[in-house]
């Protein structure tokens, strides 16, 4: 078994273990045995509501969203050849949030929030792509434009939150922290659909990305159609991020950090490393959500706070190493 295969197996085991913990712990504790039984073959019974309506969908959503975010980050970092890039850094999440806050501000019901967030994420991605296109496309320009857009949209959100009555926009403010606590089976279904469409494409793009990492000239010489490939990578990367932000809300740092961990453990991008990245994404989000639930129990934190709290220091650590290498 190769190193990458071993790591993937270990991560998958960790996901299962964390999932069981996620089913067991809570204000209404269940034994591991009865929790698993209730979730899988013995539906109904005293734990039915707690397990099958509250905890199980939450665990599943954490796994799926973690996979989406980590893969999205890996695609962006490989495309732009910059380890400090991820969809949340270039404004995809902020775009989703701005759109979400806007529809709540004008008085629409929260049921429209996921659609608005998805539209905002896709629209922002399109805007960044159009604005950074000049006789072709450069990854560096995309990042700079994205950071600019991110700042602009942050200002728009602040304006909306200040300008409109608090009782209307407070739901948006809560949503913005990124929480898994209200995850439902329909959220999980949305994520499954997104992953079913986008994840296979992501894996098919890996071979191309591995060549694109050698620089534009080399990629062209090896027969990669650059513009089309970039468009495909950006579409898939943004799509994955958009689905998550629509369902869960903005969750910072998962997309940025997990690809780093996978690279440090298993080396440069390949299909196996992408699989490991996906699994580690699930591990990170599951653990972050558990910490968020239990750290200050009964007070529950949004998972986004935990990913940011863990991600910030790690980012500083990466930057330090990055600076030393440069």
């Amino acid at each position: 078994m190769t190193q990458t295969a071993r790591l993937c197996t270990a991560s998958a085991a960790a996901i299962l273990a964390l999932a069981v913990v996620g089913l067991v712990v809570g204000d209404f504790p269940a034994s591991a045995r009865s929790a698993i039984a209730t979730a899988i073959w013995d539906r109904g019974g005293e734990f039915d509501f707690v397990i099958n309506t509250l905890r199980f969908p939450r665990v599943v959503v954490a796994v799926l969203a973690g996979i989406c975010l980590a893969v999205s980050g890996a695609l962006f970092q490989a495309l732009i050849d910059n380890p400090l890039v991820s969809p949340d850094i270039i404004g995809i999440d902020t775009g989703a949030a701005a759109c979400a806050v806007a529809i709540l501000a004008i008085g629409l019901d929260t049921q429209w929030l996921p659609y608005a967030a998805f539209a905002g994420a896709v629209g922002t991605a399109g805007l960044i792509f159009v604005l950074s296109w000049r006789r072709g496309f450069s990854g560096g320009r995309l990042v700079l434009v994205g950071i600019g857009i991110n700042a602009l949209l942050t200002a728009v959100i602040t304006y909306l939150l200040v300008r409109f009555p608090i009782e209307r926009v407070s739901a948006a403010a809560r949503w913005q922290a990124g929480t898994l606590s209200s995850s439902s089976w329909s959220d999980a279904r949305t994520l499954v659909i997104g992953l079913a469409v986008l994840l296979p494409v992501a894996f098919l793009l890996i071979r191309r990305l591995r060549v694109m990492q050698l620089g534009d000239d080399m990629a062209l010489a090896l027969g990669v159609g650059l513009e089309r490939s970039r468009l495909a990578v950006i579409t898939v990367g943004c799509g994955l991020a958009a689905v998550v932000v629509a369902v869960v809300g903005p969750l910072g740092f998962v997309a940025l950090l997990v690809p780093h961990v996978a690279r440090a453990l298993a080396g440069t991008l390949s299909g196996g490393v992408l699989l490991l990245t996906a699994l580690l994404g699930a591990v990170m989000l599951l653990s972050a959500d558990l910490v968020a639930q239990r750290l200050f129990a009964p007070t529950v934190l949004p998972a986004g706070v935990v990913t940011a709290a863990a991600g910030g220091p790690y980012l500083l650590f990466v930057l330090r190493r990055f600076n030393r290498a440069a």
Binding site: L214, D217, M218, A221, L222, G223, V224, G225
Partner: protein
Amino acid sequence: MRPDQKPSPTLRAERLFADYGGPPVVKDLTAEIPTGEITAIVGANASGKSTLLRALARLLRATEGAVYLDGADICRLPTRSVAARLGLLPQSPRAPDGVQVEDLVRRGRYPHQRLFDQWSKTDEQAVEQALKLTGLVELRSRAVDELSGGQRQRAWIAMALAQDAPMMLLDEPTTFLDIAHQVEMLDLLARLNQTEKRTVVMVLHDLNQACRYASHIIALADGRIEAAGRPTEVVTAELIERVFGLKVSVISCPVTDTPLCIPYRHNY
């Protein structure tokens, strides 16, 4: 022998103009690359050597005229089918952080892999062969960024070899190498040309190396061809003065009998 011995394609430029969005860098240039030989493109800085090479490799689209690969306009051919016939090594290629030699070489197989293809036996053979030819078998699991300059350049050549294109274009393959590694690199290319019948086209700064290793020289000045042909026939003191603005004496190399240019002192 290459696992899949394809005949070398023909490559020629016809009335080619190319630029980088400004004034033309290559102007009205017509040239034919002799199949199965080593061609060196020489000329002063900014004479259009690299631009010509990039246009020949379809990295740069001709503004007028065209480059023909096996008789077809290279910009109209599917890019993958070009990549299977024609390989290119840019001047300073970039390796991803921490990538291992073998991983790098494997990426050269891209043009031969269809979307859903698995890694095949042919792919494996091509990679092994490339590692063997470049003497990198022992270094296959080393990180490229930890290699010496000469080894790193060999790793890139190995990647281009794994691409298994019968024609290879190289932009200054000897830059940043000391003289021993320069000779090693050029000997490797000469060997690939002789034993595997690969056509080699390279931009070279060193005129004497060009004369020694190439059987065909294209001398550029200001984006046009000043002379093209066998080194012994075209390299004269008069040509060097026209191309480089430098007075030289051309003697016969005591080792290879190829032309050897000895510059006079430059007087300001």
